[in-house]
Point group: C2
Chain length 609, copies 2
């Protein structure tokens, strides 16, 4: 281990460019839109825990508290940056409802208190500690944003009560929650309060998972689903429900750091390697099947039926960032960037109002519609983003993620400053203000002013970048250019952006002979809206040349090229002819797909050899 | 309509070549192997209808009678050609058990008589009339093979009883059987006996299907499953369970002929067109999904998850042959040939002992094994043939099909002889003996001696054939070369066999840019056993050249060529390079796949453009 410390987004203001616009959209549109839909669907009403008789027509759901908690966390992050009276008022009302409904013992769960009083801590898969964990994260965020302790203290009382039930009394019917999340939340609660018990409880849950007989498999007799198949320290592959997986791996990495636990660190390294080198889509998406919303096995990455949940990509950045805090290696920050610009952003419509839960790499409305018509029930991702889901975890996860995206920029290790991501920002540190100026990802010119006090800067050279220049001498190590500096220093980094064509490992047989197109960190796709239907009949040229064109609505450049298309013929089978016609081809960023209605879309495109 | 009359296989002896060997294998190995496995699994024991208490450990199943009936029908066909003491004895024992167990009323069903006496004719999907139909077909075959009437008479009594229940009393709980089959059986019973009532009953069932409210949907609320969604005369597409579909379409074509029913004929034409031009695999296989073993929708022809049941291809030849009897058009006989050499034969191992129920166009043992290991339950076809299935309809269907393959050779219309298929054979007609000599499908030289009495011969020029020669003047019409003859005439037909590369309609997006290789009527595939794994990384050359090599065990020629293969690289995603290595490539007939253990296999192969 070679630990570094993240510089929190709270110290950073994103000043301009792509991410500043995204944060503005998040605050001005998305946070309120998610509030409105959660309000319409009674998620906020549920917080008062009123008896069912007082609200015929709707009932609370087991994961609603987590939806609210993530929204509260996101609003706290927005308020950290600057005041927003409307969001603050809405959030305080919700917090006040939670505090009023919290029981004497410290318990709060709007589902159990109303629907199943008698079943508290009895049903492993009912997201009870998962909801508690998200509430703790929200409380920590609220405390940091406002300096007020009432929400934090209330959630500490809840954590104390959980400690009592799970450790002191051991009176719950399960040992670890079916949906990990509380583990990493407890570490954050410990960091905010210094109360050792919370760290102890996090360690307890991590030690126990896959390590005790009381926890029954909760999905289809498949212990992998909840990462229960082995003690966590013995695991080497990314398994089961992909969001649950990434949350528990995040907690493992947290605890590896807190406890200098080499065994946990090694398990995390192996799992990260497996997840990213064998089981990750090129968009950074995770989860190859809707069955269990899960990882499957190495190189099984179907495009059309990809589950690829937005939350899994978000959670992957949490895991990768924690790994980065254990060893500065660009393999972690590269994955964060891959998810930032692709698998996460794709979950969010360009107008900020609607969301994808699943982010497939291929959409075929023809197949999808016809399958419905004949009732052959293949599960396929929806084709247009919607404003709220029954299980609406992704929208508020995006709210908190976008608001805290500054977390990914920097970390430090004594006098070394690590620069992981590129966006215009001002960051206040004890050593002075770091200023980054760039038009990235639209060009690769980056100026970083490092204040006096740092003696070394390590700037990431992204994996996609083949050529770069720096204004100062440097030494490469694990994907970072290390530069010795003294006094306030201006680092000029120029990353050469170019269109790159990527192939898949041939074990991903579906993609053999196809390429994905990238420009900088952005992966592109082609859509029927631009290029007509039957996209698999299109071939990129042997050596395609691309023109770039700035797309206002996307905020980045789209790509144009000349391509070939197989000429349609009548009949079902006929003589294979090589006859093709030349066509113009427009590629848009993958993250912008399905913003113009349902449309055929592919990421992996045939290419002439 | 332009009706012709089939010349029955009973008049034909296949004398030599590919099909003579297949018939020998069928008689000497397969008929007995199927008997043995049915015997092991108590299917023959069940015929005595003994109470469950007398045979603890096994129970009869609703479709067992149909398995036995198809085997009996196959044995009768074998006996028609020449004596086989062992098979005759086994068959007579089974018939005697059936006759002994048949009830006073004429009813026989080994499942209902033992398990659900009270539920006779109450459960639409329990294959009751389907079993009855197959028994009637067996009885007709037995009568024709032996001249003995006892089995036929017994099944006539059964048909009379069914008439009483379904027409006279209308006391059954359904109007038409969930699994069509009895309809075409009743036409055969009518042909064998001249009893009008059986034709009337067939007409009744065909008229009622999709036309009455008493018949509830039997699969997933989907009336298409049992072709119930519309009155049959109004149907235009191939729908639902593919075997059920083909059996009812066969009956429709039978009745179109018997009744000169133009509406039925037109429905059959539209359905045939849809089935073969929109919903048929290049192997002649039918059924795109295991869900309901069914057709789905136009151009939905997934290779790896194809259901493609052997019985559906067999039943398609029944339908096509009946269509051929309504209008002589090579589109029907071409489909018969496509199924003969591909989708049907693939269901039968080369050693004659084991069978495929599903005949996918792609096998990937890697995906199949791993999916099982992680319990994500995608349904995939099995990878090696087995000797018996729980639902073992295909093996005895092959026994009867192979034994009667001579049915497909000829038909006549007054003084015109139609020659549909090519195999060495002697056929006795009232006008004399037709002699066909050929080494087809291993070469295209065919000599047909037509006896005096015919004034015209119409020989099919297969759809796959681009060049041919005839020793006599001819006129082409609907795929047949019409030749005027007088006196005994020797027709010399030479079909130019060549390797052809076929493409799919681009709507079958999975196959875009890929080709299937054919030589004569045979479609080829490539297997891991010959070519190593990752077959989708292999590209045929732009203009591939093939060498042929006779394969003794296949009975036909295999193809060899030089091809290119993408070079494997480490990592999950990397720069797309066009680097390929040249490799030798061996193609084997599709029908011979999976005869050397589980192996990756594909029919649709990438091709350089």
């Amino acid at each position: 281990m070679n630990v570094t410390n993240q510089i929190s987004f709270e110290q950073t203001r994103i000043t301009d460019g792509f991410w500043a616009k995204k944060q503005k959209l998040n605050e001005e549109v998305t946070a309120k839109a998610v509030y409105d839909r959660f309000s319409d669907t009674h998620r906020f009403d549920a917080l008062s825990c009123k008896p069912l008789s007082e609200h015929p027509g709707w009932e609370p759901h087991i994961f609603w508290d987590s939806d609210i908690a993530k929204w509260l966390e996101g609003v706290a992050y927005i308020l950290t940056m600057h005041e927003n009276e409307e969001l603050r008022t809405l959030a305080e009302k919700a917090i006040s409802d939670i505090l009023n409904a919290q029981t004497q013992e410290g318990y709060f769960n709007s589902y159990y208190q109303v629907k199943e009083q008698e079943n508290r801590f009895r049903i492993r898969n009912n997201h009870e500690l998962y909801c508690a964990g998200h509430l703790m994260e929200a409380a920590v965020a609220h405390y940091k944003a406002t300096g007020e302790r009432y929400f934090l203290d209330a959630m500490c009382r809840y954590a104390d009560y959980i400690y009592q039930i799970f450790v002191t009394e051991q009176s719950a019917e399960f040992v670890t929650c079916g949906h990990p999340e509380i583990e990493l939340a407890l570490v954050r609660l410990y960091d905010a309060t210094g109360t050792e018990k919370y760290l102890e409880l996090a360690n307890f849950f991590v030690d126990q998972r896959g390590n005790n007989k009381k926890d029954a498999a909760i999905y289809d007799d498949e212990p992998r689903y909840a990462q229960d198949h082995l003690p966590l320290r013995e695991q080497t592959t990314a398994e089961g429900h992909s969001v649950r997986a990434m949350y528990i791996y995040s907690a493992m990495a947290d605890l590896a750091k807190k406890n200098a636990d080499e065994a946990l660190f090694m398990a995390c390294k192996k799992i990260f390697e497996n997840a990213t080198q064998k089981r990750m889509y090129i968009t950074g998406a995770l989860g190859s099947t809707h069955i269990g919303e899960a990882f499957t096995f190495d190189y099984d990455l179907p495009n059309r039926t990809a589950y690829a949940e937005t939350c899994a990509s978000i959670a992957m950045t949490f895991f990768a960032q924690r790994m980065l805090a254990l060893e500065p290696d660009a393999k972690y920050s590269d994955v964060i960037e891959r998810d930032l610009y692709n698998g996460i952003l794709s979950g969010w419509s360009l107008d900020g109002k609607s969301f994808f839960y699943e982010n497939p790499l291929e959409i075929d409305p023809y197949l999808a519609n016809r399958i419905t018509a004949t009732k052959t029930k293949e599960h396929l991702p929806i084709m247009e983003r919607v404003e709220v889901f029954d299980c609406s975890c992704c929208p508020p996860n995006l709210v908190r993620f976008i608001a805290s995206v500054g977390n990914f920029l920097y970390s430090e290790q004594e006098e070394t400053l690590f620069v992981h991501q590129y966006m215009s920002a001002e960051t206040k540190t004890e050593k002075g203000t770091i200023v980054q100026e760039t038009n990235y990802p639209n060009d690769g010119v980056i100026t970083i002013t490092v204040p006096d006090g740092y003696r070394r800067a390590a700037v990431r050279i992204p994996g996609w970048c083949r050529e770069f220049s720096l204004n100062l001498p440097y030494e490469m190590k694990n994907g970072y250019a290390y530069i010795n500096i003294s006094g306030e220093t201006q680092i000029q980094l120029t990353l050469e952006l170019e269109v790159r064509l990527y192939a898949s490992n041939l074990q991903v047989q579906e993609n053999a002979g196809k390429v994905a197109v990238g420009y900088g960190p952005i992966i592109y796709c082609i859509e029927e809206k631009d290029n007509g239907p039957l996209l698999k009949s299109i071939y990129l040229e042997k050596k395609p040349e691309f023109k770039r064109e700035y797309c206002e609505v996307c905020g980045v450049q789209i790509l144009k090229t000349r391509a070939k298309r197989l000429i349609p013929q009548d009949g079902l089978y006929y003589d294979a002819e090589d006859a093709m016609e030349e066509i113009p081809l427009t590629l848009i960023p993958y993250f912008a797909f399905a913003n113009r209605g349902a449309s055929e879309m592919i990421v992996w495109i045939h290419k002439l050899m």
